[in-house]
Amino acid sequence: MSVRAMRTDRLGRELNPLVCEARTLASALSEECDWFTGVPDSVLCKVVPLVEPYAAAPSENHALGLAFGARLGGKRPCLLIQNSGLGLLGDALLGLCHLYGVGVLLVVAWRGELAWEEPQHLRWGAITPELLRVYGVETFDLETEGLDAVRKAAREAFEDGRTACVLVRRGNVDE
């Protein structure tokens, strides 16, 4: 029988296992991508200041609009968002990226997956993998695949022209 020691935050709440430090994820992303945008999220709060250039967007759809334009201009863009932005993301995802066969890398924080999380995140947490599947976005799990998830998603986005996602669970990187 294997026993995994439960990891907790400073309030004693359960967290998913640590995969790497935020700066290690930022380095891996910077190896695959050269242009960043997004809408802030607390799971990724230590990653965002470490990637550049970073263009802040007012909403996830506009972040994807920026990234689509930057990809046409030859960049390898990465979007850092939380899962509650997947609704807003959908219009630009289908109407720009999928329609024109343009791939960008999504890094999506999976809020609302753990039972103690705030109620406004729980429904998004419950539907996140299924919503990404329905959107036609292949998802790579940082927790189970480690930093290979970044490399695989980047290959799909930039070599195959299909927007792909790295899913980051709460606790996978330090906040």
Partner: protein, 157 residues
Amino acid sequence: MNRAEAILEIVAQHPDAAIVFSNGLTSREAAHVADRPGNLYLLHGMGEALSVGVGLRLARPELEVVVVDGDGNALMGLAGWSFLPVAGLHYYVLENGTYETTGAQPVAALRVDAEGVRRVPIEAGTSKAPLPPAPEGIRERFQAWLERTASEVQWTQ
């Protein structure tokens, strides 16, 4: 001035620019009356033309970028006005007060302004505007134009 005349005037003023047209009749009329390889016609993604143009400009700072929006599109993408002004990017909003592509339903008035927005009143009504080309063709031609433009810039430097 109608939409086609406004588009022709904008294209004539920016002969070397990458021009992003918002979806609906703006793209369709542009493809019909002012087609050129440096035009990117959006077919969907309503409200995203400005963001696409800003992303392109940030990625390619040597490139002049123009965005031509309709008023319904501008209203849907209004949060994107927070990007403005962007040096080297010209943003035009063609205003006729209607969602003409879907049957001329009224658009709520754009009661806000921002630095870097050029509002162009146009008459309602459309000229003959067949559907623009398929998305793959639009993207491939535009990207080929972008690559040629990049090599010309290198050549002249």
